[in-house]
């Protein structure tokens, strides 16, 4: 026999459950614009029917339903899409950062234009041509010296600017690592909260979302994988447990391994170290053995957790991508921990420019020193061999400088191939023609004659290292390479952006809140709530009949 108030109970459960569903709908709407939020839904299930099984169970016509309960609140999410999203985020982090670094380099080099190094070279060669046509003209000589100063300034400017950007990249490495550390700490804290909540049977969906968002952010910097550790206790079947976060690396034997970054409430602290073991940052720290070096290159990432410390170098995560690797690749790194073999985008460009400046100064000085300066017309002895045109100490892009003596006295420009011939501009022409001359070691350049008529053949110096390129074609090669690299980075950035947008949309399609859907649900739950309430009214009327309307027949 069923109880008198049984129907009330079923409808009351209905009221509560629909209300819970409405609250969840409200929560979804409230979080429609929350980053990383995934929509939640109530899993409703009927409560056990009446009567339960048993020998003394009352006989009823059938198993009567007793209403509904909210089984659980779950977030709607697809782990596979998450993985895809993180992979693409990782690639995008790399290409975005690389494209931006290259674009800054392009801004500094400003080619093709009327302001770049190429133009400075052109103006210089051109001024030498003018001297060759007017070797006795002091004005033309002054112009050569001024153009040479401009050329040296252009080298200096590019060098300084590139180093400044490189410094910013170093600073960004440092900031990124701090960001990573902060994310790791936050994940560990969320892990702790989850571990405290889950054993009680609760499913903290919002904490999961927050944690997944942090994992997304982490993947922008470097690739991590996650592993779930159940919280134990009375944890729900759908509880996600605590995350163990691992960094994917390729160890030195070439196989892949993982380094634990977060384990429950414990988290690792990372430090990006340079070759001297100090933090990589944007401050200049010059290597005493190599004063040209403004920034010591990245050497390794130190990962310490508890009392365990591991280090990985650039080569350990190059198979994967990410912003951190991109910054390191641009800033410069050394795999062997010395400053002799620095790789990376900015250091390599700086080295190439140094090589160009060095070859140019050495070749130009040697040829210039062989020629003869402008003497007085009446005294051939005042025409002497040229001096170093560029300061012989300044052999890099950062230090190249025109010899002060030439600035003071442009007559010292050695334009003549014969001692004491002020109208002889042949040597200036030979200097000007270095423009289109392939720079090979010990290449014969031309002949000069002293006042006694002795002829000497002048050769280029040894070991200039341009391998038969002209100064211009070498520089064009650098710019061409820069362009190709930039184009590649931009292309891959756009591609990964597109792919990530697709994946992001897939994810949104699965997890993000649709207001229309929530509104429909709201109507659904609201109406169900009302209907439950109406049911209670009906039962109320039934009971009213029994209590107040019965046993009064014939009155």
């Amino acid at each position: 026999m069923r109880s008198t108030f049984m129907g009330l109970e079923a409808s009351k459960r209905g009221l509560f459950t629909q209300q819970t569903a409405l609250y969840t709908t409200g929560h979804n709407i409230a979080n429609a614009n929350t980053e990383g939020y995934s929509r939640q839904r109530i899993i409703m299930s009927p409560t056990l029917g009446y009567p339960g099984a048993g020998l003394n169970a009352p006989m009823t016509p059938g198993h009567i339903g007793t209403g509904v309960k909210a089984e659980s609140v779950q977030r709607v999410r697809d782990e596979f899409i998450d993985r895809q999203y993180r992979q693409e985020t990782n690639k995008l982090g790399y290409w975005e950062t690389k494209a931006s670094a290259i674009s800054q380099m392009e801004d500094v080099m400003s080619e093709p234009s009327e302001y770049g190094l190429d133009e400075a070279f052109r103006l210089f060669w051109s001024a030498l041509q003018d001297v060759s046509a007017n070797p006795d003209d002091t004005a033309a000589r002054k112009v050569v010296v001024q153009r040479a100063i401009h050329l040296a300034d252009s080298f200096n400017y590019i060098d300084t600017q590139l180093k400044q950007i490189q410094g910013n990249l170093g600073n960004e490495i440092n900031v990124s690592v701090e960001q990573i550390n902060s994310i790791l700490e936050q994940i560990a804290n969320i892990n702790k909260e989850i571990q405290a909540v889950e054993p009680n049977g609760y499913v903290p969906n919002d904490l999961y979302d927050k944690r997944d968002l942090l994992v997304d952010q982490l993947n922008e910097y470097f690739p991590v994988s996650i592993e779930r550790v159940p919280s134990g206790g009375n944890a729900s079947k759908v509880a996600e447990g605590s995350y163990t976060i691992k960094l994917n690396v390729k160890d030195n034997s070439g196989s892949y391994s993982e380094i634990v970054l977060v384990d429950g409430g414990n988290y690792a602290t990372l430090r990006a170290l340079d070759t001297s073991g100090k933090l990589v940052d944007g401050d200049e720290d010059t290597d005493p053995d190599n004063p040209q070096l403004a920034y010591l290159p990245f050497h390794q990432l130190e990962i310490s957790m508890g009392n365990k410390t591991q280090t990985i170098g650039q080569e350990n995560f190059q198979e994967f991508k990410g912003k951190l690797l991109s910054l390191i690749d641009s800033f410069g790194y050394s795999t062997d921990g010395t400053n002799n073999t620095i790789q990376g985008y900015f250091p390599e460009m700086l080295q190439s420019l140094d090589k160009l400046a060095n070859a140019f100064v050495q070749a130009f000085n040697k040829v210039h020193e062989a020629g003869y300066t402008l003497g007085k017309s009446d005294d051939s002895d005042t025409s002497v061999n040229g001096i170093s045109f560029f300061d012989p100490v300044g052999l890099t892009a950062g230090t190249i400088k025109v010899n002060d003596a030439l600035v003071k006295d442009p007559n010292l420009v050695a334009a003549s191939s014969v001692q004491g011939e002020e109208g002889n501009g042949k040597w200036a022409l030979i200097l000007a023609n270095l423009q289109s001359m392939p720079i090979n070691n010990k290449e014969s350049i031309g002949k000069i004659k002293d006042k006694d008529g002795n002829e000497t053949t002048v050769e280029l110096p040894d070991n200039l290292g341009l391998d038969g390129a002209t100064f211009q074609s070498y520089y064009q090669g650098l710019i061409g390479q820069l362009g190709v690299d930039g184009q590649k980075a931009n292309l891959l950035k756009t591609n990964t952006e597109t792919i990530r947008l697709t994946v992001e949309n897939n994810r949104a399609s699965m997890s993000s809140v649709s207001l229309d859907e929530e509104m429909t649900d709201m109507i659904r739950f609201q109406q169900a709530y009302s209907a439950n309430a109406r049911m209670i009214t009906v039962i109320d009327e039934l009971l009213d009949k029994v209590i107040n309307g019965m046993g009064r027949a014939g009155l």
């Binding site: 392009e106 011939e421 109208g423 710019i479 061409g480 690299d485 930039g486 949104a508 993000s512």
Partner: protein, 291 residues
């Protein structure tokens, strides 16, 4: 596929930023007048552009060099022309002086004029282009003659100027021998006229030497003329080369305005469309209809 508001706004933002960046690109092209502004836009054209600029720069430089060459040659031609005229006048005077009916005062007058012409010829030998003595070989700061005669500093070296890659032109006529011979001849003539014992026949004998000198001047002028011809050819060739390179440079990097502006307008209208469609889609939700 389930579509949500955030997807719509994501897509819209993405579309808008795409069309913005397209508009930005066209705007940059139109304002700079160049198809690309950084190497990564077009690496091949960048490197080509650098090479074209060098070519163009050389062409401009050689054009400037040719102006200098022209200066030299024209001035030399002019000077030789004057020298020729002077020699011609001497011939007239010589023929006149060779007449034995001249009185000694006639001779003195002739001699005086010859002295003047000698000085004039020295001045011609000291012709300058800018501050350069063009007949002094490569000792261009030293005059051929000073008051005491030929200076010892000059030489007979050739001055060359490059007018095209590897093509050098000789721009001077060394004047040491030519003007030296003329000057010697003039001195001999003076001495002869000073000597009253010399007859008209003696003076006539000088005519042969004079003709020889005249021939030398003519030969030098012919040489200069030939070089001027060559310079003219080179000028034409350079002008053509410069035009070609300019054209190539322009084709390589200059914006086709009609195209760029049309594309800009198209991109703008697409942007407008994206905006208005986006605004419509994003506004409407079920919320608007439930009361």
């Amino acid at each position: 596929m389930r579509v949500t508001q955030s997807m719509l706004s994501n897509n819209m933002l993405r579309n808008l930023s795409n069309s913005y960046s397209k508009i930005g690109k066209y705007q940059e092209q139109i304002t700079t007048g160049r198809k690309f502004t950084r190497p990564s836009d077009d690496p091949v054209s960048t490197v080509k552009g650098m090479a074209f600029r060098t070519d163009l720069n050389k062409a401009e430089q050689f054009t400037r060099n040719i102006q200098t060459v022209n200066n030299w040659l024209d001035t030399t031609d002019d000077a030789l022309d004057q020298a020729g005229t002077a020699l011609h006048r001497i011939k007239e005077l010589l023929v006149q002086a060779a007449n034995d009916t001249n009185t000694s005062s006639d001779r003195t007058k002739i001699k005086e004029e010859i002295e003047q012409i000698k000085q004039q010829l020295r001045d011609i030998a000291n012709t300058k282009v800018g501050n350069k003595y063009i007949f002094s070989g490569t000792k261009t700061l030293a005059p051929v003659f000073d008051e005491s005669g030929m200076t010892g500093h000059i030489n007979e070296e050739i001055v060359q100027i490059e007018v095209f890659d590897g093509i050098k032109l000789d721009v001077n006529i060394p004047g040491k021998t030519l003007f030296g011979n003329i000057d010697n001849f003039m001195s001999n003539l003076s001495n002869l006229l000073n000597d009253d014992t010399k007859t008209g026949e003696d003076i006539s004998e000088m005519l042969g030497d004079l003709d020889q000198l005249y021939e030398e001047v003519l030969a030098a002028r012919a040489d200069i003329g030939a070089r001027q011809n060559r310079v003219e050819l080179m000028t034409n060739r350079l002008a053509l080369h410069e035009t070609n390179v300019t054209k190539q440079l322009s084709e390589n990097e200059d914006v086709d305005y009609a195209k760029a502006i049309t594309e800009m307008i198209t991109a703008e209208s697409i942007h407008q469309a994206a905006l208005s469609v986006g605004a419509k889609i994003i506004q409407q939700t079920l919320v608007d209809f439930i009361r």
